[in-house]
Subunit: 338 residues, 4 copies
């Protein structure tokens, strides 16, 4: 921690500040500059609240000098984390495609989509059985019945399953059917849920919260990592800003930022980020061009009848066109679509 | 729902749009203006996703004309909701003061603070036993031991208790000790938790999510209301913006906005909104002046030793000064501090 | 400037970083901690771009330790700036009320409003003659004719005049009629305009930009101050956030924040911040309670006929009620309304 | 305009609202639904402030149904605007590359960079002679001397020139040297400047304001268009959000959104959007993949000595690599780099 003192500070005040810091358990170094004095405080625990120092009289500014996360950081682990599931790997050279409907709605629906997804070359089938909906009156998902259907459809087409878990009580149940747990944006800081999922050994996709900074996002990954589960991919899905022309603002720069700060794979979800079907293709291309390790898109063969998020689902032929284009984009940066 | 069509649209396209709307179950009215045609679609369920219409060819704009929440709205219930707990009422003419530490830390601490809070005239004691912390390495609360202590301290000083519930599994346990459940900002859209708390008969304080619009906040209240629990107060605690000089941006205008749209009482929390002790007093005054029905502030007699959020806790003498000043402010608008 | 180096950095890399810093003209101190090395770099010019150091290999983080503004800072000038104009002072113990229409529209209009404003006890008349409008098709103001009218009306009722200046070519013209130049939110970083206004000796109200941080706002004040004009008041008028229930989000916490960082008086404008008449009264009270040194509100006797911003203008009787209430609020904090 | 009335509204109130609307000059249609009454108001001028209606008693919501801009809209002009300058075209099938330093610093510097830019295949040389700087103490540009140098360098290497104009008094001077005027983000709503530039016949690049919505941005283009200048390209350069890991948040989704709403070409500037050199390459690729019609990047052969924005400037070899990669990306979507 670095503490900048106010200009023209009295010696007695400096002593008082140093005393406080030592009481907190720090070793303190003092540097006297031309205009200002700077203190270095060494030995802090990562969770120390720097505001405790900021409010001491005579302190102008305080800077934490260590990242608050550790296991998630690139400085802790230099090599990329590669998640291996049944012969498929995420975080390596291949860009993994994840596709399917927003919600599982019926056997006919999920089998039709599994076939489309598989034929186009995607390897992971998405679909929600428990849906977090802003309105209590909206469709809330098929529950376990849906889980059974997506598992059956995925197996029939040799796909992996990813599906969302919303609460602790669902962890075991969903674990029986899924290959990857998805943590939704609204649960990114549901710390109780993060801790419990950290104790499982099923890989996790952690979506970014609507207003989460990249640092907070990595702190949430740290919750999972510190409980033992090392197989996490992050998923950028748009943040909340003042712009309303799209559902959210797709923060694609987060991809190279995360790849520098962390070793965890980074996915991107242009369907939720933009919220409108006709923006998904260009933004999927952009995400792959920016270096995403995986892409998640919503597809539906009858989106006008979808029980949730139909307007952002690609039609099957649009999805096939998307796969064609991103294959070429991936090649430009020396990668392949898996 | 109102649908504005594109200029120079062909008749056949209009028919197609009307057909779609009727398939969704709407009765459709057509109004032909000088430049543009507008369709009115009547009969929609509150959860209808208007993007389903926005993506039909020929549609320029779509507006939902009914609020997506019902039970929480002022048009559903004209009179203010007044929450009565053991002879104390929230949402009436009195402005209710809620105070105490961020976390319960020891018997000595919570009794000392209960005494201070009670002597200054506050009626409700706050204190967390389960803490949602950004870092997995930070103090996570005393758990049930803490609940027992706050109950004992509150009873000794004739105070009510408010404490946070973070997950479904804690509901029953916390219910044994608390008078009001607090739902934290990060759980405002933890829909599973909202539903379960909606089935209890203990009053609830629902804090605003960091990036929640006022409409989404009322939708979360609707989750609780539609499950049967009618005793909810909302709490503004700052939203996330680009400004970093304060921990969050205190959106005090939300108070009069909510009081027009809804019948639920509105509290304000200047401690979390600003994050720094010396900003709490002016912003507490401002909140009462803006019309808040309750105020929640953090107080600590040894904030430099607090296990969480010490830097935003008022010292006892500052809290007494605050009580004095807001009493006078309340009088200006014809209210009293309870 | 404080530079935190990456963990496990090689000695040669450290030397390279120090060499770079010395080339930029810094004196460098090295502190070796348990986990990380920290460099202090002394002697930087306030405009040094710290990103120049952030991109050197081996650098983890860089912190500027001096505020980038000087003349505007409280550490440069301890006592409050008090602006004195024709016997009226802003920034002292009195809270100054500024009121009037958005735009000057006619002789009848501005005289009527000058009378209302004056009778209620306000001392400064506002009104725009040149209007910055989002749409090129909207009313753009009466120009010099309007300036003559507001001057005449103000003189008739012993009021000061404040009016907006949008471009350099208007400075002299407006200077002939006004007592205070207003710089609008959209021009807060029109640096050419700031420089020229800095060369005048007429006091200035500098409104906060829609997305300006408090630091950037003070930097804009610094432009004016460093060109010689010391009489500046800042005006909080709402910032842009994701919330759309109000026109902007009124950041009242900026008032105590600015009063700590700077010696300049701080005004608040609840009319532009909220954009709706019925929110102006509670937010005006809140602004005074938060410590504002001046308040600016829009008033109109026929708001439904106003050529701009009618919906946020108070009716005369509402304005009188507002004056009554804020007088009482001001007393609570030991101030008076001027 | 569509006006939704409150539920259970009295007939007399409805009459009053209709009367108001007719007084504003509207023809009014009334539609009675099951729960609510909706009024359609036809004949509004594009600059009508809908809040004038929102504040009438009994009105629940008001929606403007026409876009507030006209000349900038796709419905006004179906075909893309293609800007032709000395044989080069922007907005056609080719993706135009604009490159050069942030500021013109010396003859040696601008000639060196002109050569690099030209050899790599870019067609337009950027460089600022008048710089908008947050700090009054920072380098403010070389002025006319700089303009002469960039013109000479561009001519020597057969490049076009783009340079920023900050104030009306600079328009004629800069017009003697430049092929394209650049309007910076901070001046996007400097309406006086927009009007004057609208009267010139030199093409314009209009950068997006830090907190400008896409609609406001198009309104600013409308200011220029309605004054006669039809040759405008828009430039996305990042918006301000809560995320601080990058200088701004690059809103790439704005590209397909604008291309649907407007006929104007859309450029993207990954240098300012991210603010750090190592993020420019991936985000430049992403911008081309998202469909940008032009790309603007900063290049410097000695960025550590640059007088402004050195940290975001690409090194010459990085720029060449960027050109190579985006050529391939452009091909994937059937375009070429010019």
């Amino acid at each position: 921690m670095v503490i900048v003192l106010e200009k023209n500070i009295a010696d007695k005040q400096i002593e008082n500040i140093i005393k406080h810091l030592e009481d907190f358990g720090f070793a303190v170094h003092k540097s006297t500059g031309v205009e200002q004095i700077v203190l270095g405080a060494i030995g802090v625990k990562p969770d120390f609240d720097t505001r405790n120092v900021k409010i001491i009289d005579g302190v102008a500014e305080v800077y934490r000098i260590t990242e608050p996360y550790k296991l998630a950081s690139r400085s802790f682990q230099k090599e990329n984390t590669v998640i291996n599931i049944k012969g498929i790997s995420i975080g390596g050279n291949e860009v993994m495609m994840i596709a399917g409907p927003c919600s599982i709605e019926s056997e006919e629906q999920i089998f039709t989509l599994a076939e489309i997804v598989s034929k186009s070359g995607a390897k992971i089938l998405r679909g929600g059985a428990f849906k977090p909906r802003t309105s209590p009156y909206a469709f809330q998902g098929m529950g376990e019945e849906g889980l059974k259907l997506i598992r059956k459809a995925a197996d029939a087409y040799h796909l992996l399953v990813i599906t969302e878990v919303m609460e602790i009580a669902q962890i075991d149940l969903i674990g029986k059917y899924t290959d990857i747990y998805q943590i939704g944006a609204r649960n990114m800081q549901n710390f109780s849920l993060l801790k419990e999922l950290g104790k499982t050994n099923i890989p996790i996709m952690l979506k970014r919260g609507l207003s989460a900074t990249i640092e907070e996002w990595l702190m949430s990954a740290e919750y999972i990592l510190s409980n033992g589960n090392k197989e996490i991919m992050l998923c950028e899905r748009g943040i909340r800003t003042f712009e309303t022309a799209t559902r959210n603002t797709f923060d694609l720069s987060a991809i190279p930022v995360l790849q520098k700060k962390s070793h965890l794979p980074v996915a991107a979800d242009p369907s939720h980020a933009t919220g409108l079907r006709d923006k998904v293709l260009p933004m999927a291309r952009a995400a792959v061009a920016a270096g995403a390790d995986a892409l998640m898109v919503e597809v539906h063969h009858q989106p006008e009848k979808a029980l949730s998020d139909g307007p952002q689902a690609l039609l099957p032929e649009q999805f096939m066109e998307l796969m064609k284009q991103i294959r070429l984009i991936a090649e430009v940066i020396g990668r392949k679509i898996a």
